[in-house]
């Protein structure tokens, strides 16, 4: 968390947006100013903008396209996006769209990002068919890097089956993520999961554990 700019990428369904929201909340514990930007231009449903009120109530600024959550499908960025780079006193979390098309957005800011430095976290859910093992994770990661023209600095094991996730599931996902780390040289930064699933893993994984509170629910049982 030493850099000012934290980029969260990964496949949709990895838990990327939940992780980004939780990460912004974590940053708020140590930073006076935190911004989160919803840069998702590919997924029209379930996005950071859906929890804008909650984040703003906690003092986190939310940058999102005015079309997010509306009935229009326009791959637009927020008009005030350059605030991310102008206000150097604020920590920043970028929630990026869930595939290589979504990551294209980052290429636009490559110069600013490289000049200032960044942390780019690639969130992995090994229970998603297209990122189920080290080879498929790396294939996806390389596509996102090529589209964004940026480099991943850390892996996040966010392996989950939503509310059904158990500690065994997280350990199973961790094997795939550790193999990805070994093959790529990119370190494992966090192991994220709902608190129930992280229980009993402290001894094994220590401070890498990152408990997640779920915010993007529907308001009723499904």
């Amino acid at each position: 968390m030493s850099k000012r700019i934290h980029i969260v990428v990964g496949h949709y369904g990895s838990g990327k947006t939940e992780f980004a929201i939780n990460y912004a909340l974590k940053l708020k514990e140590t930073h006076e100013k935190v911004m989160i930007a919803d840069l998702d231009i590919v997924n029209p449903y379930f996005r950071t903008n859906d929890v804008r009120q909650m984040l703003e109530a906690k003092g986190i600024s939310v940058l999102a396209s005015p079309y997010a959550g509306s009935n229009v499908d326009i791959p637009a960025l927020p008009a005030d996006i350059l605030r991310l780079f102008d206000d150097k006193s604020s920590a920043v979390v970028l929630d990026v769209g869930g595939d290589e098309d979504g990551a294209v957005v980052l290429g636009r800011f490559r110069q600013q990002l490289e000049e200032e430095g960044y942390e780019m976290l690639f969130v992995v859910n090994a229970f998603r068919p297209l990122t189920k093992d080290a080879d498929s994770i790396l294939e996806f990661l390389r596509e996102v890097e090529a589209a964004s023209r940026l480099k991943t600095t850390g892996l996040v094991n966010s392996s989950n089956l939503q509310g059904l996730t158990t500690a065994e599931d997280i350990i199973k996902g961790q094997r795939a993520v550790e193999e990805t780390a070994a093959k790529s040289g990119i370190p494992v930064a966090y192991i994220a999961g709902i608190p129930e699933a992280l229980q009993g893993l402290e001894a094994q994984y220590g401070e890498k554990l990152f408990p997640i509170a779920r915010f993007l629910d529907l308001g009723y049982e499904f």
């Binding site: 029209p44 379930f46 859910n125 939503q162 009723y220």
Partner: protein, 354 residues
Amino acid sequence: MAEKVLVKGNEALAEAAILSGCRHYFGYPITPQTEIAAYMAKRMPKIGGVFLQAESEVAAANMVFGAAGAGARALTSSSSPGISLKAEALSYIAGCDLPCVVVNIVRAGPGLGGIQPAQSDYFQATKGHGHGDYQMIVLAPSSVQEVIHLTADAFDLADLYRMPVMIIGDGMLGQMMEPVEFDLGKRREIPPKTWATTGTEMKREHNIINSLIMNPDDLEACVRERYKRYDYIKEHEAMAEEYLMDDADFMITAYGTTARIAKNAIAELRKQGIKAGLVRPITLWPFPEKIYQKYTDKVSAILSVEMSMGQMVDDVKLAVGGKVPVHFYGRTGGNVPYPDEIIQSVLKITGGDK
């Protein structure tokens, strides 16, 4: 097999199609079904299949027409405005007695409408869709797991009855993620496709695929023959889920994700002493009329809940033939009904509202 994975409805549909032997996908992107195309674009080249993004929905549906004629298991998918564009080709496919699967992940309409979920294409799906006397079998899953079963069954039904089968889901079902197992369930026996244009090898007569029939009497005979098949399907393939109907004196009816929201309302209504149950059509065509008819003496009223201005409610009224009052509650424009709204509607009908 049977390992749990986490997938979106759209991805589940694409993978289930591949597992069902589909190797030909023709489509054009449109929210909220684009993940079907995106998934096919990644998977098909790896398994020797065809993913083709056509220049339009019209072209994509006609490519399905061609592939189906050659005996391939072909799939196209879209969302509401794109489905309107596919109507012409689907009419030709039905007129040629060819099997195919078409997916509509419904968004709000009419016109461009909006990208949020809706069920306002019910009439379009069940009452003809394109021009001419024809039907499509229409399957309406309500969970991501059911998307998998019904996708597999859609390909079987299409081949068995040689007709287009539509899978209809609202945008929510396409976008939501659930843990699932890729278990296709029970499969059907499919006769060999002796009618397909696969080359005669000089061993048989040419197979001709055509929907132009010059003589009115011949065309009438052809359509009547087809309707005999439709009658058989009505008799044998109608499906519905009956939920807490054993002791119910009030019926809520809904399909797709709306049915799952209705279950929340039913739990609360039962706490308040109202014995509500749910009938959830799984086949929208054939409409499961007989299941409704079982309850005409048992329930005091029926409430149809839809993400539309009231479309399926007409079929419910036809099914019960005036024996039970049929009411309607709906949201439209991309809005989803909440359990509270359904509860209030029921209380209004039963006289328990404040």
